[in-house]
């Protein structure tokens, strides 16, 4: 018994010494399957970097921005590595809160930064400096119940007009079945969905010259079609529904289509998520073929204690090799080499899925850029919701959105 105690104490002491010599990197991440995938791959990181340990502080999306913000003002950031959502990149970079990564990238052999899809990677470039490297994408796609389309003989809609007509035709409100599971909740959610309608008709919120053009005739027509969808094809209460409600409706077999994140396809096709409907979902580019792009980026706070060690983790997790393994486990890839890798096709979700995602990512566009991106999203998201709720006409909503945006941008 005495010997057992001595051995245990000795082991404990050795473990303590070992840990004391290890540097701990704290990372803030969102509570999502992507984070679980990173956790599953961590043993490989530890094997290659025995002097480092990683602590992942995962939380809901809504809690992240505030927590990251408070760390920027600390003498030393509590997070060595952060993930940054695409609307925040320019804002954080402009405020000087992120560490430039160009030198780190250049000094990392085999990193191959150009392998990232340029539309995705460019979002984290501010004034020709790289402040973040892509983690995963959440570009939206059209997800459909392929069995219903096949059974009813409907072709997959390629234009916005076709989509609206098809969704309305598929709706049977008396039976509780809807042509589209929609997320018209005020703010980010409705903008994320409705912006695809804008892009499909060539409408923009702010044009390439930085002028506010959200009240253009194309934008009005796009919003009119969106409101028509909410009225005739969406589930009741869609104007207060977010991603969760729309996903549950789709997973429960109560909707024929949804415009949602491309990585929803493998999720929906899991039996534990969709039960008897698993395997019946398919993915296509959004009607109009220009989707809203969302992505997360790895970044290092300006006041991180050990930027070198932080980069060692980022270089590993965003490397082609790790990205490939993550993709096979279900991650949404951002490297061209991964999306076109036959082994990923075979062990992941199939060639069609990855090539569709690649096609989407090449032309996808974020909702807003610049230091005021978050405010632009809120202003537009409010007025779109006003129109979808019937509280304002389409014209009034877009006029008010335009006025607010011009005031914000000093136009």
């Amino acid at each position: 018994m005495k010997w057992v105690l001595v051995v245990c104490l000795g082991l404990g002491l050795l473990t303590g010494i070992a840990f004391a010599q290890q540097k701990v990197l704290t990372i803030i991440m969102e509570d999502l399957p992507e984070t679980d995938i990173i956790r599953a791959l961590l043993p490989e990181f530890y094997a290659a970097n025995p002097d480092l340990r990683v602590v992942i502080d995962s939380m809901p999306y809504e809690a992240m921005r505030d927590k990251i913000m408070t760390q920027f003002f600390a003498p030393v950031s509590g997070y060595d590595i952060i993930i940054v959502d695409n609307p925040w990149t320019d804002e954080f970079a402009a405020a000087g809160w992120l560490t430039p990564l160009d030198d780190f990238i250049e000094a990392t052999p085999g990193y191959n930064y150009n392998d990232f899809i340029s539309a995705v990677a460019d979002i984290a470039v501010y004034q020709n400096t790289i402040y973040g490297v892509p983690f995963y994408n959440y570009a939206v796609a059209l997800i459909v119940r392929q069995d219903i389309f096949d059974a009813r003989g409907f072709p997959i809609p390629r234009t916005l007009k076709e989509y609206v007509e098809t969704a309305i035709a598929l709706t049977d409100k008396a039976a509780g079945f809807y042509g589209a599971a929609m997320q018209a909740q005020r703010g980010y959610k409705i903008f994320e969905e409705c912006a695809n309608y804008f892009y499909a008709l060539g409408a923009e919120v702010i044009d390439a010259e930085g002028r506010v053009v959200i009240d253009s005739p194309q934008a009005k027509e796009a919003l009119r079609l969106y409101c028509l969808m909410v009225e005739k094809a969406a589930q009741p209460g869609a104007v207060t529904h977010g991603f969760d409600e729309a996903m549950r409706l789709m997973a429960g077999g109560r909707a024929a289509t949804m415009i949602s994140y491309n990585w929803m396809l493998p999720t929906l096709n899991k039996p534990e998520i969709s039960g008897k409907y698993a395997g019946k979902f398919a993915i296509y580019p959004v009607p109009g073929s220009k989707a809203v792009l969302g992505a997360w980026y790895w970044a290092i706070p300006h006041n991180a204690a050990d930027k070198e060690s932080a980069w060692r983790f980022i270089a590993w997790v965003s490397s082609p090799e790790t990205q490939k393994k993550a993709a096979i486990l279900g991650s949404a890839p951002v490297r061209i080499s991964v999306l076109t890798d036959p082994e990923v096709w075979e062990k992941g979700f199939g060639k069609d899925y990855y090539l569709t995602v690649l096609e989407i990512l090449k032309t996808a566009k974020p909702l807003a850029r610049g230091p005021y991106a978050e405010q632009i999203i809120e202003i537009v998201g409010l007025e779109l919701n006003n129109a979808a709720s019937g509280l304002k006409t389409v014209e009034d909503a877009l006029r008010d959105a335009a006025d607010e945006l011009k005031k914000l941008l000093g136009q």
Binding site: M69, F73, R186, G237, V239, T240, E374, L382, S389, K392
Partner: protein, 293 residues
């Protein structure tokens, strides 16, 4: 000599409290007020400059802010009134002699909603009231044939009121029950001897004696209701449109989503004055009633 010693002793005893209150309450208030006189933005702290009362002028012209004040006042009036009426009724019922055996267990069960965190309550009702798969709309449809979208533009704010009533009526019940049990019995005995009926006893004895407790309960609940935020954040995000945007949610958006701290601080100061006006109004109205009686 003895008097001077006593005075300095008093100051010494109170000094720790003054220092604590200064750091916790007075300094933040002054700091917030000073920030409200600037155009401070967290993304550009170095460029902060003094703008005087400009933020306040802008706040009173901000349609969304004014709408949030209206929403909040409506919410507070409905929620606190319903909570008081229901809480008082429940307190009176549970105070009846014939329920004395089950009084303890009944109160324990009724107090339960109060101990659930408001965020969890918000999430719970978000799904329970969902028009498609929520249990409450389902029961209304199947049992009564009524189809209700609880979060439509017409009903969303009132649904938030009902959620608040569900959670915080027990608070009123708690205070009013304690008040009823602390009332002196000799007044009731004297009233009985004088032949007073149940209503007269209630109106001329119970209500006046309970007034201080009622005042405290309403004031505390009102102050809390003005800060409503969790239900808005977890359920509606201020929508549909601005139907449920309250002052706290609006200030949160401006200050912590958009980082416009100068603007947010000015709106917080305006909010504090709005609350103060209500508190003073309620207090004076109840005191006037006391003088009239």
């Amino acid at each position: 000599m003895k008097k001077r010693h006593l005075i300095s002793d008093r100051i010494l005893f109170v000094l720790p409290l003054w220092i604590t209150v200064s750091f916790i309450s007075i300094y933040p208030l002054i700091s917030a007020f000073l920030t409200s006189l600037t155009d401070q933005q967290l993304v550009a702290l170095a460029a902060t400059k003094f703008v005087g009362a400009n933020n306040y002028y802008a706040a009173f012209k901000d349609v969304r802010f004014l709408k949030s004040i209206t929403n909040t006042v409506i919410f507070v009036l409905y929620a606190v009134s319903l909570e008081f009426l229901l809480g008082f009724m429940l307190a009176l019922v549970l105070h009846r002699h014939f329920l004395r055996r089950i009084r303890g267990i009944a109160r324990s069960l009724l107090f339960t909603p109060m101990f659930v965190t408001p965020v969890a309550v918000g999430l719970m009702f978000r799904y329970m009231l969902n028009v498609e798969y929520g249990i409450i709309p389902y029961l209304l449809r199947t049992l009564l044939g009524i189809r209700v979208d609880f979060f439509s533009p017409s009903y969303a704010l009132f649904s938030i009121v009902l959620i608040d009533v569900w959670q915080w009526t027990p608070f009123m019940l708690l205070l009013l029950s304690a008040g009823l049990e602390s009332l002196p019995q000799d007044c009731y005995e004297a009233a009985k001897v004088d032949g007073a009926g149940a209503f007269a006893t209630f109106w001329y004895i119970t209500i006046p004696l309970l007034r201080p407790i009622m005042l405290v309960a309403i004031l505390i609940r009102m102050l809390d209701a003005f800060r409503v935020y969790e239900y808005i954040y977890t359920i509606t995000r201020g929508g549909p449109g601005s139907a449920t945007e309250t002052i706290m949610y609006h200030i949160y958006q401006v200050g912590f989503r958009f980082f416009r701290m100068g603007e947010a601080s000015s709106k917080a100061v305006v909010f504090a004055f709005v609350v103060l006006i209500f508190v003073i109004a309620i207090y004076r109205a109840l005191r006037r009633y006391e003088e009239w009686v």
